[in-house]
Symmetry: C2
Subunit: 275 residues, 2 copies
């Protein structure tokens, strides 16, 4: 489809509605060419979407160990070959171009947000893909559990907690969680369904009283929008945790996806994918 | 995923936003179980969607010949084995349950709209799948041509014309067209792109003066919403044509998809799929 995209000289930027009508290949080409830089929620139904972290190889072993020690907030689904921006294990993917938008951190500070990191790519870089909550939210919906924040087109609420990660090298800090209000009678089902997706945060890390994990007011999240719906608060490990760990480690250079703009892989997003 | 759907006893009806978050398999299971009965536009990115016509075998040969004589409005992409509701050539498909909503015609009159035709299925029935405009609209968007009716969440305008189909047996009548306003300089590109999709209406049947094909006022379509956008009117063969031909033939029983509620196949919706 590259020839189609470039023939006619068109450089129109696509809306979320427009990209939703494209095939997976067309969606990727639109992202690769910088024509789509928005959220990926709801795109590429059936394909695994992932959080992305790119860092110098010198820190890669520690970061990988940190993820393995903290699988609920940091579920590792892939690691690229050092220096190789083509990530064929995850599909027809060029790490430098295939995420709608990247956050570039220098010494732990957000330096820039860009649609392409080709100019920033270094031969010692390693990329990590971490599972994300889109996977288990689809499974919860399929299981008959409503997700009011999706229906309301808001971002799920996320909170700092008093739960600590297990530190490895420069990586550590508190665990961040996302929260969904689940109707009381569906809480066991929600726990059962998400436990099947260990590569996408897995089972809840806490259910019920928010104060037990250091959250004083669930109506005032640290990130995202206030909660919608009614029921028991159920908390899952959240991908903001490794982002905070990376920022606190103050690496000279670190690149992540911009929140909500995920890496779309070619891997089937089913229960069997990583079991 | 059937066990997940049924476990918990949930029978919630899904919204378009919710089903958009599901995997292809989950989407099909939601449709199969009657939990989703709405439009399929934008679902299952990358999979061919098709118009569906189910009729008694006694009329099947004539209808197939009618489609082959009129490929622009009636692009045939598949025919099921008579009496067999499982349509494995198109994927994991049960014709009786896998369309969100069906129109049931008796003697040419709309008799009922139902989410499931298991009770109506007869051993002499044959199903036909005809390509639809979702395919070429995706290609036009990927090619840099805006589709304002999609962005505006309206239905494309459709018109009766003075163009006649080639009749076969009881099947005939006028050709119905859909129309999109294309910026003047992009008209050749739009013609070139859609010509690559003969199984999805192919190249336009007319470009420019609407009155030449018997349309007096493009702002007042016979079906769908008034046109959005600006440019040259470009007309493509439309799947309402075979629906009208079937109604006019006054078959004792005929079942189609309800407009907009398409059959989602497992076939890849790419340029190579049917060439």
């Amino acid at each position: 489809m590259i020839s189609t995209l470039h023939r006619g000289g068109s450089r129109i930027v696509l809306s979320q509605v427009e990209i939703g009508r494209l095939t997976l290949t067309q969606q990727r080409m639109a992202i690769r060419s910088g024509r789509y830089q928005e959220h990926t929620a709801g795109l590429a139904a059936g394909r695994l979407q992932a959080n992305l972290a790119i860092l110098p190889q010198a820190y890669a072993a520690d970061f990988e160990a940190f993820c393995r020690e903290n699988p609920a907030p940091c579920p590792l689904v892939g690691k690229s070959d050092a220096g190789n921006p083509i990530w064929s294990a995850l599909g027809d993917i060029d790490i430098r171009t295939d995420v709608p938008a990247y956050n570039v951190y220098r010494n732990g500070e957000l330096h820039d947000t860009v649609p392409d990191i080709t100019d920033l790519w270094q031969p010692d870089m390693v990329a990590f893909a971490l599972g994300c909550s889109f996977t288990f939210e689809s499974a919860l919906i399929a299981g008959g559990i409503r997700m009011p924040h999706i229906e309301g087109n808001t971002t799920v609420p996320m909170y700092r907690t008093n739960l600590q990660t297990r530190s490895v090298g420069p990586f550590g800090g508190g665990m961040v969680v996302s929260m969904r209000l689940i109707p009381d009678e569906q809480v066991p089902l929600a726990e059962e369904i998400t436990a099947r997706y260990p590569w996408a945060h897995g089972a809840p890390v806490h259910t019920g009283d928010a104060q037990e994990i250091g959250i004083n007011d669930i109506t005032r999240p640290d990130w995202g929008d206030p909660p919608l719906g009614r029921g028991t608060p159920v908390f899952w490990g959240c991908g903001v945790t490794p982002q905070n760990a990376l920022a606190q480690a103050r690496l000279p250079l670190c690149i992540t996806h911009t929140p909500g703009r995920m890496l779309i892989t070619d891997i089937s997003d089913t229960e069997d994918a990583f079991v």
